[in-house]
């Protein structure tokens, strides 16, 4: 028999707390790790250009794009195009998003409204939006209205569908509880239905933001006088590849920015949900 050390005791919870627990490697570097892959690609690309693996006739080197961005920023041209594009995107989001949200709520709350309109919306939804372009040009010309229309209609559907779905799927037991506890229609909506639908509405919003930039690029190639899409089209005409690549990178950045903003909103609004709480 082995002797037991008289000083031995099982570690308590307190002991475990005071131990310097090493956080896993990926969590300690969570702040910069997501940018490792994009950064690495840029570095390889730059090196590839310098050693002649990548022809600058086909793809300008990142440093050249950066220099171009600086030039365009100094002349103010960059901010003009960025501003115009952002305004168009947000305008379309405001119009299409509001309409989609309103109809989604109406159809989620009223079976009559859903019967009347949902089938029509589902039919229109299956038309590829870009197939509408010829029609849109005939209706609205090639002006601002056409671009706003295209962006609005593209964000309308994801927001509509997810709002509708979210409202429909609110736990009926909670609604019954609200009824039993004498909630007015207004507080039933504000305290039970809307917060219950919110996670789904956010899914719709994220999806809509992606579509918004996508459709905007195409819409801005329609005889626009400014905007990122216009900047890229102009640059192509004059074979200014650095500007073309710059506008592509700007779209990527704007998309990421929209995603960051939505995520921040989610973390705030859905703090109650363990799936969204920050680790």
């Amino acid at each position: 028999m082995t002797a037991v050390d008289p000083a031995f005791r099982f570690p308590t919870r307190q002991d475990r707390k005071s131990l310097p627990v090493a956080r896993p490697w990926h969590l300690r570097h969570a702040a910069w790790l997501p940018f490792l892959v994009p950064g690495l690609i840029l570095v390889l690309w730059e090196i590839g250009s310098h050693v002649g693996l990548i022809s600058t006739q086909i793809l300008p080197r990142p440093s050249a794009v950066l220099v171009k961005a600086w030039d365009l920023a100094l002349t103010g041209e960059l901010f003009l195009h960025l501003g115009v594009s952002t305004l168009r995107a947000l305008g379309g989001l405001a119009i299409g998003g509001t309409l989609g949200f309103a109809l989604g709520l109406a159809n989620g709350l009223s079976a009559r409204s859903a019967l009347l309109t949902d089938t029509s919306v589902q039919m229109v939804r299956n038309i590829p939006i870009l197939a509408l372009i010829p029609l849109v040009i005939i209706w609205f010309g090639v002006g601002e209205t056409a671009r706003l229309f295209l962006v609005s209609i593209s964000v309308f559907f994801p927001i509509y569908i997810n709002t509708f779905h979210g409202v429909r799927n609110v736990d009926p037991q909670l609604i019954e509880m609200g009824r039993a506890y004498g909630m007015s229609r207004r507080s039933l909506f504000g305290k039970v239905i809307f917060p219950g639908a919110l996670p789904s509405i956010f899914v719709g919003l994220r999806y809509a933001l992606g579509l918004m930039w996508f459709v905007l690029v195409v819409a801005e190639t329609l005889a626009a006088k400014a905007g990122l899409g216009y900047m890229a089209m102009q640059a192509r005409e004059f074979m200014m590849l650095d500007v073309v690549v710059l506008s592509i990178l700007l779209y990527a950045l704007l998309g990421k920015l929209a995603d960051v903003v939505t995520r921040a909103l989610e973390v705030r609004a859905l703090a109650w949900n363990p799936a969204y709480a920050r680790h």
């Binding site: 009824r179 506890y181 004498g182 363990p274």
Partner: protein, 265 residues
């Protein structure tokens, strides 16, 4: 026993010839029942005997097909703050903190500070005052059901209906919750109606147990034993056996599915 003011807050309940049918199925048939103010009544019976339906009628969530229900002389309806229903599930709003969930039980409007104070008092009553700012997701099953109890209590109801509120809890938490229910019942003196599958629970908590079978009262047992009732008491065990016997009695007074026999009254 200090039995001074049992009816101060409790509601008188009367059911007169209450019938409930769903699509031609009679769930409750010509039920007559009176519950005196401050009484603790339990309703037991096999699944589908109509006990949950009875509770929904009492709390005004459903209306009887015929007959009359009076709680303090008035027909029950949704949102009467003197009648509260506690469900089998806690049914807390996951996006509202504990204190806000409790405030759901208060009538809308009124000064915020007062609502807050009343909700805090109710949380103290269920010993969860320290959890006021928590999200429901961070509570255990028993704690959530205690928040639901606080929500039911906060408007100081005169009739509290329990629809198997402890059914989903583990055995030990159940015992703790039973004691808690008895304690708040003693303090608040409401009329309590408990629907349960658990005959032991019914016998431990109530003043009277009725056995419901096919929509009518098959047996009525008065539990005339003062609280605190020691668990495993022989008299309680005998009453429990009697009630179980009534539940599983073959060829009881009501057997016919297509409603008709008029044996028990």
């Amino acid at each position: 026993m200090l039995d001074i003011d049992q009816s101060a807050l409790g509601a008188d309940v009367a059911l007169i010839g209450v019938e409930k049918r769903f699509d031609g199925n009679t769930v409750l048939s010509r039920l007559d029942l009176t519950i005196r103010a401050g009484e603790f009544l339990s309703i037991v019976g096999k699944s589908g005997c109509g006990k949950s339906t009875l509770l929904r009628l009492l709390s005004g969530l459903d209306q009887p097909s015929s007959g009359d229900i009076r709680v303090d002389g008035l027909t029950p309806e949704d949102g009467r703050e003197d009648i509260r229903l506690m469900f089998q599930e806690p049914r807390l709003l996951p996006w509202a903190r504990v204190i806000d969930n409790v405030m759901v039980g208060l009538p809308e409007g009124g000064p915020v500070a007062e609502r807050h104070a009343r909700a805090e008092a109710a949380l103290r009553e269920v010993q969860l005052a320290d959890k006021a700012a928590e999200w429901p997701a961070n509570l255990s099953g028993g704690q959530r059901q205690r928040v639901a109890l606080a929500r039911a209590l906060v408007s100081r109801p005169r009739l509290l209906a329990f629809d198997e509120p402890l059914g989903a809890l583990d055995a030990l938490t159940r015992l703790v919750m039973q004691d808690l229910i008895l304690q708040v019942k003693r303090e608040e003196a409401f009329t309590a109606v408990l629907v349960t599958h658990d005959v032991t629970e019914a016998v431990a908590l109530s003043d009277r147990v009725i056995v419901l079978d096919a929509g009518r009262v098959a047996r009525e047992v008065v539990i005339d034993i003062p609280h605190p009732r020691p668990r495993g008491d022989a008299r309680l065990a005998a009453l429990e056996a009697e009630i179980l016997g009534a539940i599983f009695a073959e060829g009881g007074p009501v057997r016919s599915a297509a409603g008709g026999t008029q044996l028990s009254g």
